[in-house]
Amino acid sequence: MKLLQERAKGRPAGDSLIIRTSVRLLVPFIQLYGLYVIVHGHYSPGGGFQGGVVLGASFILLALAYDLKTSLRYMSEGANVLLGNAGVLIFIGIAVLCALLGGLFLDYAALARLIPMAAEEWRSFGIFLVELGVGLTVMSSMVSLFWDLASGGDMEEGL
């Protein structure tokens, strides 16, 4: 007991082995659930916004349980910016691609010239692609918001 108390004195407040281990075990499952929410948004409550927020919350949880450096090691700043840009580009790229292939702007049925499928199936699949882009953007900007607010902008130490 005394040994445990002495060990606990050396660590900063709120630094607990139980929390760290359970968070490390939990984070992959949270990310898997976020992907499930994005992909299964056609058949159940969910979609791009919710799944993106759940994916971003997994990195925020890492930053809360460990510190900012650890979450930066799991998800670097450059990768975050890249994913956010990719999300917006997926959305607008699909919209422009529909227009270039001879359909209306954002009319996914025009994509049938690339891969022949029924118009309804292409609409269903187009909604999925678009929600993927939304999810990536939402994840990136939520993580970025938390990093900058928690560290005050210098990305050195956080909450």
Partner: protein, 81 residues
């Protein structure tokens, strides 16, 4: 529909909203705001808006509270009114 439960949750929402703007400690205000968001999510789930309730449970009660707490951690916790 259980209308007593509906009215109880509506009453709790109003109480939480009053508590958010009257309590002087900003950290308490942020945490009570999380409770308010979650009660709101219950209300929407009861109205049948499952997608909106899911979004509010993740965004309002999760990310928004964490952002408020992070900003209060960076600034000050006391408030004069």
């Amino acid at each position: 529909m259980i209308w007593q439960l509906d009215q109880f949750v509506l009453l709790l929402v109003v109480i939480c909203a009053v508590a958010v703007i009257t309590v002087r400690d900003l950290l308490s205000a942020a945490v009570i705001f999380g409770v308010y968001s979650f009660l709101m999510c219950l209300l929407w789930a009861k109205m049948g808006a499952v997608d909106v309730a899911f979004t509010e449970a993740t965004v309002g009660a999760g990310i928004s509270t964490v952002l408020f707490i992070a900003a209060i951690f960076r600034t000050t916790r006391r408030s004069k009114d």
